[in-house]
Amino acid sequence: MKTKLTELAKTLNIEWDEALKLRDTKLETSEWTGKGKNTWLTPQAATKIELAADIPPAVPDVLYARHVRNCNNPQWIRAKIEGFTGNPATYDILIPRRLHGKLEGKRFPIHAITDEKGTTYRYAKLTGRYN
């Protein structure tokens, strides 16, 4: 059952602006519908927002990238990340090995995983072979 973002923000005792920021940074566009205060979240998205409100580093930021070229290592590709301008123009993105050569020219969601040393970008729709 879908959850309304305004109600979730009230339950979590967070400001509306913060809830909107969490929606925009932590969720894929396919995980929510509606506009502004009429935003509805899928159950998985609501769980992510709950966790992100408590512990922000536990939920990675979601960005969108477009494949530019393959790398020598088949688990990595070079892609342009939407919203990032300047130098470098493209970034290394980790992908499942089975998707090597299948993402050419495609736009896909990625996770940005950051620690004190830097950031790693990873293909977001990971399911594993048996899931």
Binding site: N72, R97, T120, T127
Partner: protein, 70 residues
Amino acid sequence: MQNSLDVTTDPFWQAEQIDRLLGFEVLKKVCTADPDPVPPSLLADKIGLNKGFSHAMILSISQKLETLDR
């Protein structure tokens, strides 16, 4: 087109990325108190290693423990 000076083939760079991704997975497991095991293939996709890595690591640990017991 592939680049001959590709950073993705550098073992030190790879180790840094794997360390970061593995750290994140551990953090997520602890934060969510998730008791479900992660299948080796999914873990391999998440941290950028081959799917036989988990098995090889467990085998290596068991061999080391056996050596210590003797």
